[in-house]
């Protein structure tokens, strides 16, 4: 179920009404059922993967803290994903579940149980470390198989062909489950936090399962931390008017970004980055600017809707965007763009690698490794790896070169040099988006090639399309200018109520002027 579908407009109020009517303990059950239903609306089969991740990290989390479940409890939970697949196999023949899929899911459950019991019985010292490895291996194996298997097989095949070997392997038909990178990382972060003793394990399976599958942020983040979300779920919120006011405001801003800005910019970006399009410089620039605003509005719009939906339930999710296009340096950009992912990589990869504590070259190496992996996280395509490497190179460049280094100012009042720093960083960001959006490395070459062709007759007239883009970006920029003094992008509380009412009305009118079609969010594919 997508946030911009009519189904969500029935689902959310129904959940909300029941949620606030039920006693606190029952609410979790409602949230879990609602979250599973929300996810199953995409593909009922892949709920087994969510269950598998939940079961693995729930058991490992407790075991790391030295509070292992009893073997029969671990076994029972381990068989849950298989039981789900069996249920679908029996009750939903149209779901397309085969006997082999059923055996694999049961087999994975039993393998986890076996490994868990093996550690329990055989390992005496550093058991927590082994449980951590068990969790990381199983979760990354699931993610790796569904997201990267074909990518690596195909790349290896190309490599073999490159050195003269021929192979007739065919790729597996693997469907990428929606949101797998998000919930896997969230779950892994929880286990690592327990291992580091940054947060206690969650003893209640219902609470943990709800944390893992909480519908507002399950498929596209923010990637929450256990220590932020689990206590909120455990304690339960009492109803406050501000929950509803803030939640609705966030959702309105989110819908405005997604439906009015992102979906309309997408028309031009899709055309410009279509391999069939013959580009010139004008369309190359127009396309990348359109995509820059599309991806920002799409993803931050999703986040706003997610945060708004959670807020209606009395739950605060972390912010994910803070005016990223106003950044002065790459490090500032990554502190403002997809904050939950960049802090995840910082806390669980960059710092364990040594962060900036070692020699200068080690810091630069760590930056490069983290950014390449962050790029790969976005998808199984070399353009994402290149995009990550490009941002890694930018981070290194700004650290190494004194001229760029001088542009690095701490967060604070704007200075005259920001007039140079912000446009320069924006330019670098746009180039990054060209890499990110290109369907392939070869197409990226065409995009750069088009920058050398400024013959307006070479392709379609671009002026009217630029006007179309400006019409859709200008209201967003006005909104950003109005709120940029504040941390929260959707903050409008400081605006006088009459003006606020007018802004809300205009947003509603702009949203409804932009169509009735449900368009998916970009980050669902990641």
């Amino acid at each position: 179920m997508s946030f911009v579908s009519w189904q969500y407009f029935i689902f959310l109020p129904a959940v909300l009404i029941l949620y606030w009517l039920l006693p606190a303990r029952r609410r979790l059950l409602l949230l879990l059922a609602g979250s599973y239903f929300f996810y199953a609306c995409w593909d009922v089969r892949f709920l087994a993967l969510v269950l598998a991740t939940t079961v693995i990290d729930y058991n490992c989390g407790l075991a790391i803290a030295g509070r292992e479940n009893r073997p029969w409890q671990v076994l029972g939970l381990s068989l849950l994903p298989g039981a789900w697949v069996l249920g679908c196999y029996v009750l939903l023949p149209q779901a397309g579940i085969t006997a082999s899929l059923l055996s694999i899911s049961l087999g994975v459950g039993l393998a986890f149980f076996g490994a868990h019991e093996l550690i329990r019985r055989l390992v005496k010292d550093q058991r927590a470390k082994y449980y951590l490895v068990l969790s990381v291996v199983f979760c990354l194996a699931i993610l790796g198989f569904f997201k990267y298997c074909n990518f690596f097989v195909d790349s290896f095949k190309s490599l073999l062909q490159g050195v003269g070997f021929t192979s007739d392997w065919s790729l597996l038909k693997i469907i990428l489950p929606v949101g797998i990178s998000f919930y896997t990382f969230q779950s892994l972060g929880y286990v690592i936090d327990i291992y580091r003793e940054h947060s206690p394990p969650c003893a209640d399976f219902l609470t943990f399962a709800t944390f893992d599958a909480f519908f507002p942020q399950m498929v596209s983040g923010p990637i929450e931390r256990g220590k932020n979300l689990i206590p909120q779920l455990e304690q339960g919120a009492s109803f406050r008017d501000s929950h509803i006011q803030d939640g609705l405001r966030l959702m309105l801003v989110g819908f405005f970004k997604k439906i009015f800005v992102a979906d309309n910019c997408a028309i031009l970006a899709n055309y410009a980055f279509d391999p069939q399009t013959s580009l010139n410089g004008y369309w190359a620039v127009l396309g990348v600017v359109a995509f820059a605003f599309q991806i920002y509005s799409d993803f931050s719009g999703y986040t706003d809707i997610a945060r708004g939906s959670a807020k209606l339930l009395g739950i605060d999710l972390m912010e994910n965007f803070r005016f990223p296009y106003f950044s002065r340096t790459p490090s500032e950009f990554w502190g403002r763009w997809h904050i939950s992912l960049s802090t995840w990589f910082r806390d669980y990869l960059y710092i364990p690698l040594g962060g900036n504590r070692g020699a200068r070259w080690e810091t630069l190496r760590n930056l490069a490794i983290v950014m390449v992996l962050a790029g790969l996280w976005h998808g199984a395509n070399w353009v994402f790896v290149l995009w990550g490497a490009y941002h890694g190179a930018l981070l290194i460049l700004y650290r190494v070169l004194p001229a760029f280094n001088r542009l690095q100012t701490k967060d604070g009042p704007w200075a005259w040099r920001d007039l140079l720093a912000v446009p320069l960083m924006l330019l670098f960001t746009f180039v990054g988006w060209a890499i990110f959006r290109s369907p392939s490395i070869s197409h990226l070459g065409l995009w750069f090639g088009a920058l050398g062709n400024w013959n307006p007759a070479a392709t379609l007239s671009w002026q009217s399309s630029a006007l179309w883009l400006a019409i859709h970006v200008a209201p967003l920029l006005l909104l950003q200018i109005l709120t940029c003094k504040y941390r929260d992008e959707a903050s409008l509380a400081h605006v006088p109520w009459a003006a606020r009412g007018l802004i809300y009305t205009l947003m509603i009118l702009l949203i409804v002027s932009s169509g009735e079609q449900d368009k998916e969010f970009i980050y669902f594919q990641f």
Binding site: Q245, Y271, L460, W468, G501, S513, G515
Partner: protein
Amino acid sequence: MKRLITPACLTVLCLLVLAEVGARVFFAEDISGRFDYGYNPQAGFAEHADGTVELFRAGGRRFYPQTFQRQRPPGVLRIMTVGDSVPRGPSLKGAYPGLLGQELRRRDIPAESINLAVPGYGARRCQIVLRQALQYNPSLIILHFDDYNKWEDEREWRRSQEFKGWHPRHWLMKLFIFRRLYEAKMEKVFWPLVPEEVRLRYAVNDADAQVAAGADPKEVAARIKLAYDTAVENVALVRQRQIPIILVTQCRLEEDAQHRLYLTDHGLDQLGESLKGPGVFHVSMKKVLSGQDIKSIFTNFSGHLHQAGHQVLANAICEKIKAERAALGQTGPNVAVAGTSPAPQTLTPEADPVPGKP
């Protein structure tokens, strides 16, 4: 709980409610039948107590404002033209129906020519307008015959059905201001600003699907067949009332690979000829305009004409009426010709099967 309704929230509600109520109160006539998207059997015709009938924009019918007597004045040739944006023309006076009326009057033939053409109307919706027109004693029907608006007909039919349906997907768009805003943006901003090739590539909406279908030979054949079938029904409908009809078959200006201009009728002329019979006449736009400087009389690569083109067409139809007057039964001003030609083909009021009644 009281604080849920904040002043800002109230402002939003008030503004939206005011806009919606205002639209429904002050533009009630325009809204009437608006969401039938041209499929309302009554919209756009207002009968007044003084015996006049007024045409106005409503129910998806963007008629030119016109007024005529419900009862056709004796001895006056009442011509009603049904079609799409081509016969609607650049203005009421500058379109060929208006020019035809002038031309006939110039030749001392008392005539009133009523332009019932609506932009974007295909055969299916034209038939509904035709049924309305037949209620007002026309002496002659001119049916502008085109195949191009099938997609628009289907889209508008779907919209009208969706709008009547219960599906939650359409609840929001049941508000007049929302729906109108969406349509206005689509028609006034999206289409003019985003190049057709871009829209076409992704079929962003059904309008693009229409354009894409125009490039598909199967779709073209299907829409020609539909246009033909509906035209046969329309001719039968008119002939049931023993009213003469002139079919004007559409042609379009196109350009070949060598940038040479040519006119194409998509085979409509052949269909028009095949429908000819007693009381059914055919005027081919392609034949009429072929000898002209086509670059100057067409507005662009479409069937739309400048006023000069409309004038040529009006003259041709006028000549047709003169040439076929024996068959049509009209010989001159105020001449009742009952008995000189078969009643079904006469253009005089006396020929009405049920005068003044639908």
